[in-house]
């Protein structure tokens, strides 16, 4: 586990417009700065073990598809940062496959493991009622984050 650094920024992303906005926001705010490290992370939340219980091959295929899609947009997000003048050598792209009862907690754990002192994520864009009933990754990340800043981009 690395010591948390405010100069290590972990951007948790998926393929949504809000994730792209989060990356663009980071690019705009930190354009031309030096001394920062960036991790672009997509967490593939392992499907519930019961979901593909009768077809394990489909489960592997589903994970592989998620992974390959993620690699596509991580490369694109990397280019957005680089275009803003961020040193490509300071950018790491990662796809992590994890069992996540709570996606927010998985992302926070990855921040801790990597020593990221700042977490950036886009809001999923659900309505207030839906968030209240089913939960919100960004709200849970803000609520449960300790010792790090969380930027939520809407």
């Amino acid at each position: 586990m690395e010591q948390a650094s405010a100069r290590h920024i972990l951007v948790a992303v998926d393929g949504s417009d809000n994730s792209r906005r989060a990356v663009e926001h980071v690019a705009e705010v930190l354009a031309g700065t030096r001394g920062f490290r960036f991790t672009l992370l997509h967490v593939v939340a392992e499907p519930d073990p019961d979901y593909f219980a009768n077809d394990p091959a489909k489960r592997l295929e589903w994970i592989a598809n998620q992974r390959s899609e993620a690699i596509g947009y991580l490369e694109e997000y990397s280019r957005i940062l680089a275009k803003a003048g961020i040193d490509p050598a300071a950018i790491t792209e990662e796809v992590q496959e994890l069992r996540c009862p709570s996606l927010a907690q998985c992302i926070l754990d990855e921040c801790t493991r990597r020593g990221a002192g700042v977490l950036v994520l886009g809001r999923q864009g659900r309505g207030a009622r839906e968030e209240l009933l089913l939960g919100s990754v960004s709200k849970a990340a803000v609520h449960n984050s300790k010792g790090r800043a969380v930027w939520v981009v809407t």
């Binding site: 019961d50 979901y51 219980a53 996606l103 209240l132 009933l133 089913l134 939960g135």
Partner: protein
């Protein structure tokens, strides 16, 4: 046991069960994959002590459809013990369910139900049963029959007004419901969901009055809150119990126009917008402490429970505020 010996044994069983009747040799299934073709009068043979004479398919009212036939759920009698059982055969399905105006993907998982049956063995808050594999490796869940009617039918059968129900019957109903929440909290602590928490998935056992959860083969793809649908279900049941049924806005308008004029959108259920959750407006004798939990499931809620254990703590705190039944 080879098939001819098994056939002789089954015929002997049937003669013992139906003495004096002329019986034809039944069809014997050792593979239950094609459950649609297994009918009343057939026998499912799993092993020497688990040979079942199949009765009717189970039925369930759901989504407004009364008596939908569940072909994968068979009423049966164990020919070795004469015990009545319910056999749940392997059926996979996926579908989207609506929570108000939101869609959540649900799926049926025999493996999950088998797992939970093991976890809750001996726990009277749940139906009991065991899992056996048929010849094709299908998980056949052999369930005990719970004698009793659904919690929904039990509540709707109270033949009295709300105030009398609330003062006389509700405190006992509430304590039983707390046991049901405790049972779900146990599942949550084991990182399992019930998956289909509904008032007709609690049976009220006729001999003990105990509430028992049934049908836990559903699962859902959760978003951030892993137990969200279970919690929503518990909230809906509590509102139903406290209201002695669903309190529909249009009924309030018809029957209590004065109260209707004081109702706002915030007083309705977070999930079912045509139902009143803030029941104290209609029934002022409902204790404030109970009503505070009811409105956690209304459109004025700002926080939600994450785990049935959190809800249980709040429920436990209001027990003393409930009326004592009059002698």
């Amino acid at each position: 046991m080879d098939m001819p010996a098994c056939r002789d044994q089954i015929l002997e069983d049937l003669h013992r069960l139906f003495p004096g009747r002329e019986l034809e040799a039944p069809r014997i299934f050792t593979d239950t994959t094609d459950f649609y073709s297994i009918n009343s009068g057939d026998v499912i043979f799993l092993d020497e002590t688990h040979r079942f004479l199949v009765g009717n398919n189970a039925r369930e009212g759901r989504f407004g459809l009364d008596d939908e036939v569940k072909y994968w759920v068979k009423r049966a009698r164990n020919l070795a013990t004469c015990e009545r059982n319910i056999l749940k055969l392997v059926f996979y399905e996926r579908f989207n369910t609506r929570i108000g105006d939101m869609e959540v993907e649900c799926f049926r998982s025999p493996g999950k139900e088998s797992r939970i049956l093991e976890l809750v063995r001996g726990n009277p808050g749940f139906m009991q049963g065991t899992t056996l594999l048929d010849e094709a490796g299908n998980r056949v869940r052999v369930l005990e029959v719970v004698s009793g009617r659904s919690l929904q039918d039990e509540i709707l059968a109270f033949d009295c007004g709300h105030e009398e129900y609330f003062h006389q019957a509700f405190p006992a109903v509430f304590r039983r419901f707390m046991e049901s929440v405790e049972a779900i909290a146990l599942l949550h602590s084991l990182e399992e969901k019930h998956g289909d928490v509904r008032r007709d998935h609690i049976l009220v056992e006729s001999c003990t009055g105990r509430f028992r959860w049934i049908d836990f083969d559903y699962n859902f793809l959760h978003l951030e809150n892993i137990f969200s649908l279970d919690i929503i279900g518990l909230g809906n049941i509590l509102i139903f119990l406290a209201g002695k049924g669903d309190t529909i806005v249009s009924d309030v308008k018809r029957d209590h126009p004065g109260v209707f004029d004081t109702l706002y959108w915030e007083d309705t259920s977070l999930v079912w917008q045509n139902r009143v959750a803030n029941l104290k407006k209609l029934y002022p004798y409902i204790p404030e402490s109970l009503n505070r939990i009811l409105v956690q499931f209304s459109n004025q809620a700002t926080l939600s429970y994450q785990h049935a254990g959190d809800m249980l703590e709040d429920l436990a705190a209001i027990q003393d505020d409930l009326p004592l039944p009059e002698e």
